[in-house]
Amino acid sequence: MKKTGSQILLESLVLEGVDTVFGYPGGTVINIYNDLMDYPIKHILNRHEQGAVHAADGYARATGKVGVAIATSGPGATNTITGIATAYMDSIPLVVITGQVPTALIGNDAFQEADIIGITRPITKHNYLVKDVKDLARIIKQAFYIARTGRPGPVVIDLPKDVQMASTKFEYPETVEIRGYKPTYSGNPRQIEKAVKMILAAKKPVIYVGGGVTLSDASNELLGFAETIQAPVTTTLMAMASFPRNNPLSLGMLGMHGTYYANMAITHSDLLIAVGARFDDRVTGKIATFAPHAKIIHIDIDPTSIKKNVRVDLPIVGDLKDVLQKMVADLGGHADKVKELVATLAPWRQEIDGWKAKHPMAYQASDKIIKPQYVIEKLRELSNDDAIVTTEVGQHQMWTAQFFEFRQPRTFLTSGGLGTMGYGLPAALGAQAAFPERQVIDISGDGSFQMNSQELATLVQYRLPVKIVILNNNFLGMVRQWQQLFFDRRYSQTCMELPIDFVKLAEAYGATGLRATSPDEVEEVIKQAFATPGPVIMEFKVAREENVLPMVPAGAGLNEMVLAS
């Protein structure tokens, strides 16, 4: 039986196991939206296409499945760009479907036309313009395959209106054959053997973990590996939740706002085992002084990540789950030597404990004014253990990374690579849509929150009970901090003085609004918010000029941390 392009799209989504899509209708996707009513797919109507893509991204990060978003052509499609770039930088599997003007009008400056294939080329793993309905099923199959396999990433399918309307026989391919795309999953056994030799010879090893561990669901393997050799583990922002912060081997985050002891451990290490991390400049600081004494083993599924920013002594290309399993198995064959290694590393662990004792993660408490770090600590204390936390971007994001102490994978969703303000609220929405029963918290600043606050309407409409925390300092806090430290306190355009009443804003949308202005109100507000059904905004009037510390100034080495203001 023949089906139209839009029916083929929806049939294929069902076959891919898609249960929820996020989007916004428009002229060139009206056929898809019309047919959508006949398919068992839940659609969430966001209030902006950027919100739809971030929501699909949050859904993908929380579940590990491919997130799907739909937007119309032209402005609808261009509104997806920040969302797509965010997912691209953090390697998140997404399929974004954009409508396009009919094929006969493409290139003619038609109404609501934009060259979305051209625009998204540098920020997608791959993209497709479907010119013939006969290609559609194959392209969708390929798009999902490309999005979720290898190093995951966003794929755009640009679907002209006439292709949606044209009909053909529907046959969904069972397999995918792309001759130029064959990701390497299995780590080379000889390289792994070499790595094990290097590990057994190390005196001061550090495991440096990136977002890849979450992407390949290798948290258990990572824990097994770290505990086998009893080596300290430091995580990037993207990997925060993939290694339990309460494990004695955890050093927390490294880099610009990492812990003093993580950065000291990196600086003094003799072997760095990089696991699914890409040596971002926020992590390395000045490259010349990054891990100056260490040999580097770099495990990654993406060969382009290896040797991109730093020298690497031993590359291993493969899926982390596979490589870590093989590594642990290989170490198992050297039980005596492993025992010896664990004993040899005792002084190293003591040295690290010394750094931990000297400069623990701390802040100056106050009983007069709300300290943002205190709010984060209280949130941690009062929230469920499997709560999913999203953040926007800025000071609140770093405080969350520093003080929330994540313990379970896929519970911390944040825009790491692109640093997208306005990410957290729609991402929380997506996560909550995936897990209606779990606690989902968006931690934001007053600046970031206002980037996509319209998504409050979506939360209320779909009864998604996200709890929103606004650490309100009436500043674009992180830029203000830099202006204070490096620009002689010239606070150019970072002061958001207009006193927005976030409680009333919540109420205007039909949500609940709560406010705390002094430290003794913090706990009560959080408890009340968690006990209130539906979406809630918690506004905390926090210390205005609190800084995120410690800090490695941009361009400095990890050993040059600023510890106090």
């Binding site: 294939i117 051209g118 080329r121 540098p122 793993k125 791959h126 313009l129 490309i146 792309i178 001759r179 130029g180 795309y181 993406d302 060969p303 382009t304 040797k307 991109k308």
Partner: protein, 165 residues
């Protein structure tokens, strides 16, 4: 350092832009690029000349390989290969220089493919250095127009990459 890379890609619209965009987006320079379908019409072959140190070249080849449409990347660095480029050169040919142009054309085993009372158009094929040489000799006589194709390259020896593996 100059590098010659051949890239076999799916012969689909937009692939050239993907490759070119990869270079521009990362600040790598393309010195020359030639592209056409291969024996297998579903595959195109690009020959790219670029410059960079070892680290940059490694990134270029890895990034090219990473493109979904890329089937194979061949880096000719350190290999023995045949390199040919074609040029069409329109040279001023007045009474006093006509013989000189023909002499140069003869020496270089080039061909005159168009003649007017005031010009010769010369076709030359060879390694880029040979084309540089003839251009330098013809330049003082007056070059009106010049077009070069950019080199195409094949490895020496009996082994060949024909298309589908």
């Amino acid at each position: 350092m100059k590098h010659t890379i051949s890239v076999l890609v799916e012969n689909e619209f937009g692939v050239l832009t993907r490759v070119a965009g990869l270079f521009s987006g990362r600040g790598f320079n393309i010195e020359s690029l030639s592209v056409a379908p291969t024996l297998d019409p579903s595959i195109s072959r690009m020959t790219i000349l670029t410059r960079g140190d070892d680290q940059i070249l490694e990134q270029i080849t890895k990034q090219l390989n990473k493109l979904i449409d890329t089937i194979k990347v061949i880096d000719f660095t350190g290999q023995d290969f045949i390199e040919r480029e074609m040029a069409l050169i329109k040279v001023t040919a007045e009474e006093e220089t006509r013989a000189e142009v023909l002499r140069i054309v003869d020496i270089f085993r080039a061909k005159v493919v168009d003649v007017t009372p005031r010009s010769y158009t010369v076709e030359i094929t060879g390694a880029p250095a040979k084309i540089d040489a003839i251009v330098e000799l013809l330049r003082p006589l007056g070059i009106k127009e010049l077009v070069r194709s950019g080199p195409v390259v094949l490895g020496r020896g009996s082994k060949g990459w024909k298309g589908a593996e």
